[in-house]
Amino acid sequence: MPASWIFLIVVVLAAIGYVLARGRALASAQGDSRHLHSLPSYYGMNAALLTAIPALILLGLWLIAQPVFVEKRAEAFIPADAYESAGQLSLMMSDVHRIAAGLDAAVAQGVLTEAAVTRLSAADDVRGQLGKVGVALGSDVDAAELEAARSFRSLSHTGDLIRDGLVVLLALAGFGWALKQTNKDFRARNAVEKVIKGLLVLAASLAILTTVGIVLSLLFNTVEFFKLYPAKDFFFGLTWSPSFGGGSELGILPLLWGTLYISLIALLVAVPLGLFAAIYLSEYASPAIRGIAKPLIEVLAGIPTIVYGLFALVTIGPLLMKAFGEQGGLGWMAGGTAVMTAGLAMGIMLIPFVSSLSDDIINAVPQSLRDGSLGLGATKSETIKQVVLPAALPGIVGAVLLAASRAIGETMIVVMGAGAAAKLSLNPFDAMTTVTAKIVSQLTGDADFASPEALVAFSLGMSLFVITLALNIFALWIVRKYREQYE
């Protein structure tokens, strides 16, 4: 039985539990709800929750755990000398999955009987027989794979059977227990609320779970990578030239340089523009202008990054080529994709980010500071430059750091606008590449996931995660410290 049916059975049981428990509670109070401890629906809810929740949790855990377990057991059937790398093993295992699925289909369509499946040996034309039921295999089936597939199948079947039985049993147990509890003195509301509160805590902990998931998935694969490739060469290598044939040099420094260079250009565009826009909008602009200009600038923040990427590729790049290119221009630029192209597009993207954060911070500076300065005869711009901005400085630095973290983690613009060659160059019109762009290119090819060329993406991700996390924490710390001064 597929898991969805079990799910439905549990849900139906819970619904029945609701109706029965509610009726039972009312009956124990002779139909007068005033004698009950809680409202009648709470008794029903209690039964429904007790029936459904433990059973569904078990079902969920089982669905995650069983494939992992079965996979490990089936892998044991493949002799260790049949494969050279983990990648080859995973290819063989996907063959095993297909064979198992094919056997299932063959039994379901009546081409093979269960007994015939157990008798099947590698000498029989397994590939041909499975081809008949619409499962095409890439190669002939060898004995180990067939054995693994058979064990995979039988383990999955037994696992499914045990799962179905246990889940339904657990649901029934909850059902029975809830009905037994139900009488007019049972504190149903308290019980239900305790469960609901538990669910709320669970939902809130998902944030922790996500972080743990991110860290673990990055960490495991990073460790795996460092087993294949020395960490020293990764962190201090000056060349990035992956080749899937082996012998690649995977130094992070050129990528880091590209990332920082592009981010720097983006910040050089975004910070002055964003900051001046924020100052004008919060200190000078009339409410009418502010009401129009502020949302307009913030529209820039709502535009997806893919649009900026395409804008960089199709509009900014050719425009820069006209001015700085080799034909008719200054001859500094060899192609449309360059640090400058991506940096400018990213700068435009970050303007609203800087301006709305700075706007909030400038508005948070107490009016009394401005009044004091203006009262001493300073002009408005002097007040801003010598009083408001210094007071807001920590917050603005925080905003710039947050913008920098956004720039470092930005992907689509650099994938489309920055180029693919990893270079250590000072010329902003050279094509360079970034950490994020290389994560994408290393993980979207047909590479097998166990090779260092693919695993390096996880270490790049780890470096990216650590850098942005440090920037964010630092920025938030600065902003918080600043806030304490005035509140």
Partner: protein
Amino acid sequence: MTDATQFGAEAPKPKTSILELDKRTRKRNAAETRFRYYGMAAVAVGVIFLVVLLGTIVRNGIPAFTQTYITLNVELPAAKLDKKGNRDPAEIAKVTTFGYNGIISDALVTALKDNGVQSDMKDADLRKMLSSSAAAQIRDAVLADPSIIGTTQSFRLLASSRVDGYLKGRVTRESLARDKNLDAAHLDIVDQLQKAGVVSRSFNWSFIFGADASESRPEQAGIGVSMLGSLFMMLVVLCLSLPIGVAASIYLEEFAPKNRFTDLIEVNISNLAAVPSIVFGILGLAVFIQFVHLPQSAPLVGGLVLTLMTLPTIIISTRAALKAVPPSIRDAALGVGASKMQAVFHHVLPLAMPGILTGTIIGLAQALGETAPLLLIGMIGYIASTPPDGIISGFLSPNSAMPAQIYEWAKRADPAYYERAWGGIIILLIFLMTMNIIAIILRRRFERRW
């Protein structure tokens, strides 16, 4: 005594007058004006960038919504399509699209002759004006209704992307010099046929509702199927992130005691909000695909990843909405005997709902435009050529999503695909704008000020 001062030395004449600005004041005032203009310029530059960006999108994208068609009267000879003459669908299906090419060439020659166009081009070369999908289109029509064999039918066939580009001004005679797909001579024919009304441009519904096509047929590509992919992804995001986000916010805002655990959750949420989206893609790849073995390229996986990504946004805005409900509401509910849970679920939550929905819609809009995580879970490179055939396969079978489709088009070599990409961006932006407008209306209409 007072007189003495009157006749004494004259009081020193002040060096400056308050009626006349001195140099320093003028300098300060000039600096003031300058500073003000800097601010104005910054705002203006921001707005100009927006205008240029939107202008570029509209200018480049609008052509994708029209397409060039060639209307031909195609004779469908029974001798070629159904040799035995018994109209057996299985036998008609044996004639491949290749067999239809001759028929199309004949129809083109007839069309030229009828309209008095002189050309010494070979028949097979003439066919380059048409999309390579034309043969399949006629074949599908014949298979759907074998009775039209032996008659002459009028078909509206897609012109090739070069001809389409010529009518839209993208392709010129000079640019065709090195192009082996079409010659300048073709364009002379197209000019004459356009005057005769055989070649025409009309609104392209199949761009909005159609499926993606392979790299060589940009004229046929549409965004409809990936729109479905996005829809299924957004369903997953909505169904998961709204309940989980609201539950988490209720706990943090109403129940959480001030302790280490709560602090940990808070720190985590604010950090997750700033983690680069590509890292969520890596998480999705490692956990959902490698560990749990969910199918690659499936909208379900995309939805799960985007859920994790939007949760912090939704939690932050939901908490703000809950905080805005005044404590008096809670106190009144508690005062008449409600439990804390009842006070929250029966009173606070309904009052906070408009704010929560606004935040959710904005979170969804963000998720809809996100591309980077989708690259890693395999939604790029997949050609979304067939729509999913049911709700379950809509979630589980491979599909693309709108931003992923746009990226895919932008990557393809043929410049005709740039136009498609910009057109796709227009559709994506229309969706985003609608969502944001709904959010604004919700906020204006239902949000209460206490």
